[in-house]
């Protein structure tokens, strides 16, 4: 799987350098960012599918893989923040289902106001994240174990409680619930961008690109997360608790608060994706999201996050999700036999990580 290497420490020997050394250092600083490798891999993959398939790079084609990547990007970014902070959340996927089911049942079964329903599931998600964080910090157990426990608890609840309440395992007829239209504007809608004036689009039949709400949310989450990680004190704390927790505590970083906050951030992401999925698909099942947590972690790792914590970036994680989305949909555009889909996916993801690492290694040589 993710054979992400630790960033090799800068070569110890200092080569002879003249006064231009300062420029090189600045260039190296840019190239050494965790997302550079992912960006290179994303460009390679985009070009590959753009040139080998007909619809991939056209506006209508791009609509699907941009949408597909978007919800993964949201989760990859929040999961990456948590991973930088040195923890994992295996309950993130199941939580997407939980929030969708809560809102879905409240609206379609109990006819509760849309915003009350949406906020209730947010409160529940944040509470689960809080419990995850407190359990990890108080028990000292690895977050693997704690959140694996939460995962199973949620899975069971998603099934048992939902069945008890609505006597079925999926929320249906959700689109006709009162207030659906309002919620749909925020979470399920899309805008159409006309790109028919572009020369290569002009020859194709359609130039309309749909940008779904999920994409705006993903961009917002990515920008906010980047700002927090790069520009705020909380960002420093996150890198510190993931890199060296004991030292961080000794220099006065509020470790407990930071980690609990990170788990709550992940829960927030799950809630957001839960809402985006619910309003877009107009249904939520007991199985929604189960197993998806694995892909969030893959996206973060492809985007340059270290499994050991302390290193990574939000933009990198979002690019990881973009790579995943492009590969997945590219396989479909390529008309490859869908029985082999996961095999292709695995090979291309490994390839992406290798390109990523190679670029990073080259960048380090520049320094």
């Amino acid at each position: 799987m993710s054979t992400t290497e630790a960033p090799a420490p800068a070569p110890a020997q200092k080569p002879e350098r003249d006064e231009r050394v300062g420029d090189h250092a600045r260039l190296a600083a840019v190239l050494l960012r965790p997302e550079v490798g992912a960006l290179a891999a994303a460009i390679v993959i985009f070009c590959y599918f753009a040139f080998t398939t007909t619809a991939f790079a056209l506006p209508q084609g791009a609509s699907t893989w941009i949408f597909y990547s978007s919800s993964f990007a949201i989760m990859a970014v929040v999961v990456a923040m948590l991973m930088i902070g040195g923890e994992f959340d295996l309950s993130a996927g199941a939580m997407v289902g939980t929030t969708g089911l809560i809102t879905g049942i409240m609206m379609s079964h109990w006819h509760v106001n849309v915003w009350v329903s949406v906020l209730t599931s947010l409160v529940v998600a944040l509470a689960i994240g809080f419990v995850n964080g407190v359990l990890v910090m108080k028990t000292g157990l690895p977050s693997f174990i704690v959140t694996l426990g939460t995962f199973f608890v949620l899975r069971g609840l998603n099934l048992a409680v939902v069945k008890r309440i609505i006597d079925q395992v999926s929320v249906v007829d959700f689109a006709s619930a009162k207030g659906y239209a309002a919620g749909n504007k925020l979470f399920g809608g899309y805008i159409e961008v006309h790109l028919g004036w572009l020369p290569w689009v002009h020859v194709a039949s359609t130039g309309v690109m749909r940008i779904y709400a999920a994409t705006w949310w993903a961009l917002a989450v990515m920008i906010l997360a980047t700002w927090i990680l790069q520009r705020t004190r909380a960002g420093n704390w996150i890198f510190a608790v993931g890199g060296a927790q004991t030292s961080a505590r000794q220099v006065g970083v509020p470790v407990f608060r930071t980690k609990v906050g990170l788990f709550m951030t992940t829960a927030f992401g799950s809630w957001l994706v839960g809402m985006l999925t619910l309003f877009k698909t107009t249904t939520a099942q007991s199985t929604t999201g189960v197993g998806q947590e694995f892909f969030y972690i893959i996206c973060a790792v492809v985007g340059g996050c270290l499994l050991t914590g302390g290193y990574g970036s939000a933009i990198g994680a979002a690019l990881g999700a973009l790579i995943y989305g492009m590969v997945y949909q590219g396989i479909v555009y390529h008309n490859w036999d869908s029985d082999w889909q996961y095999t292709f996916l695995g090979v291309m993801l490994l390839g992406a990580v290798l390109v990523n690492n190679w670029v990073k290694a080259r960048a380090e040589q520049v320094r």
């Binding site: 993710s2 698909t281 929604t288 189960v290 197993g291 949909q329 869908s338 029985d339």
Partner: protein, 328 residues
């Protein structure tokens, strides 16, 4: 460096194992078998229904509802249990025999795994009826009859229907990798379809993503003029994908829920093939009951088909209220 790399690899492997547990060993919580309380027993017969349905599968909820209703109507001491793990299902059968059941109703998703348990029950003089899956093995194992739909026959009916609609290039959307029944449906449809049929693998735990995948496929191949979906929830996503591309594509589906019926009424889905799971539960129990009561052999040595029943615009509104009540 080396140690750190080893550590990373170790963590990665651990992650793989753990999430692997989460994803593939998803049968863990399913292992709790799904049992109902007993109904009042006035006829004095105890009948055990043991299926391979996972808890939370809406399809099996309908089967169970049918079985429970038959138990009530016939005054049986009815026990319903299910486990998707074939080994555990076999144990449930052995338990029922040991508990002195008067009749067994069993679904055989994996006939080989149940063979010895069912044959032991038959040898002990307990009447057995298979339902849903197992149409090729019931006779050989000594069951009275089989109540269900042949997935192949149902697939063939769908393929015939798609041909009759004049379609040329149809997508068969499989929402669960490795499910034998789903593959049989596509294969059956392909065998009777006059045009080209391609399978498309999607993932029913990620409905929004599946919709995007179907949409991609429609764009990649504009000559696609039909989609055959194999599950109720996925057919809704197929309808959305068709709407998003604005293509002129006919959608047909297997299995029914209230949304599917509504889509049929609205003309967004051309037909839904219903194997009437409620009838499978009800008839299975009834067949065993009649054997106990009067030694009757329902089916007369042949399987009893519950499908494929077509739901189209003509009969959809009549079906809607049953679908909403969870019996269709």
């Amino acid at each position: 460096m080396k140690i750190r790399r080893l550590l990373t690899a170790g963590v990665a492997a651990g992650l793989l194992v753990l999430t692997g547990c989460g994803a593939s060993n998803s049968s863990a919580p399913k292992a709790d078998s799904n049992s109902t309380g007993t109904t009042s027993a006035s006829s004095g017969f105890r009948i055990d229904v043991i299926t391979h349905g996972a808890p939370g599968d809406s399809f099996w909820d309908v089967v169970k509802a049918g079985a429970v209703q038959a138990g009530k109507d016939e005054g049986l001491d009815l026990h319903y249990q299910s486990d998707p793990d074939v080994g555990k299902q076999a144990t449930l059968i052995d338990n029922a025999v040991a508990a002195g059941t008067d009749g067994l109703v069993v679904s055989m998703a994996n006939p080989d795994g149940l063979k010895s348990s069912i044959q032991a029950a038959v040898a002990a003089g307990i009447p057995v009826v298979t339902i849903n899956s197992g149409i090729d093995q019931w006779k050989q194992y000594g069951a009275i009859t089989h109540v269900g739909q042949s997935e192949t026959l149902a697939g063939e009916a769908a393929g015939q229907r798609l041909s009759d609609d004049g379609l040329k290039n149809v997508l068969c959307v499989i929402q669960e990798a490795g499910n034998v029944g789903l593959e049989q449906r596509c294969a059956g449809a392909k065998s009777k379809f006059s045009g080209t049929m391609t399978n498309l693998q999607v993932d029913n735990t990620d409905l929004a993503g599946s919709e995007a995948t179907i949409e991609s496929k429609l764009q990649a191949d504009p000559s696609i003029d039909g989609i055959l979906s194999l599950g109720g929830d996925m057919s809704g996503q197929a309808v959305k994908a068709v709407a998003a591309t604005g293509a002129n594509v006919t959608v047909g589906t297997f299995d029914v829920n209230a949304d599917v019926v509504q889509n049929v009424i609205d003309g967004k889905i051309e037909f839904a093939i219903d194997q009437q799971p409620y009838a499978q539960g009800y008839m299975g129990v009834t067949a065993v009951y009649l054997k106990n009561l009067d030694g009757l052999d329902i089916g007369g040595g042949q399987p009893v088909y519950t499908g494929p029943a077509f739901i189209t615009k003509d009969n959809a509104s009549a079906v809607l209220k049953f679908a909403q009540a969870g019996t269709r």
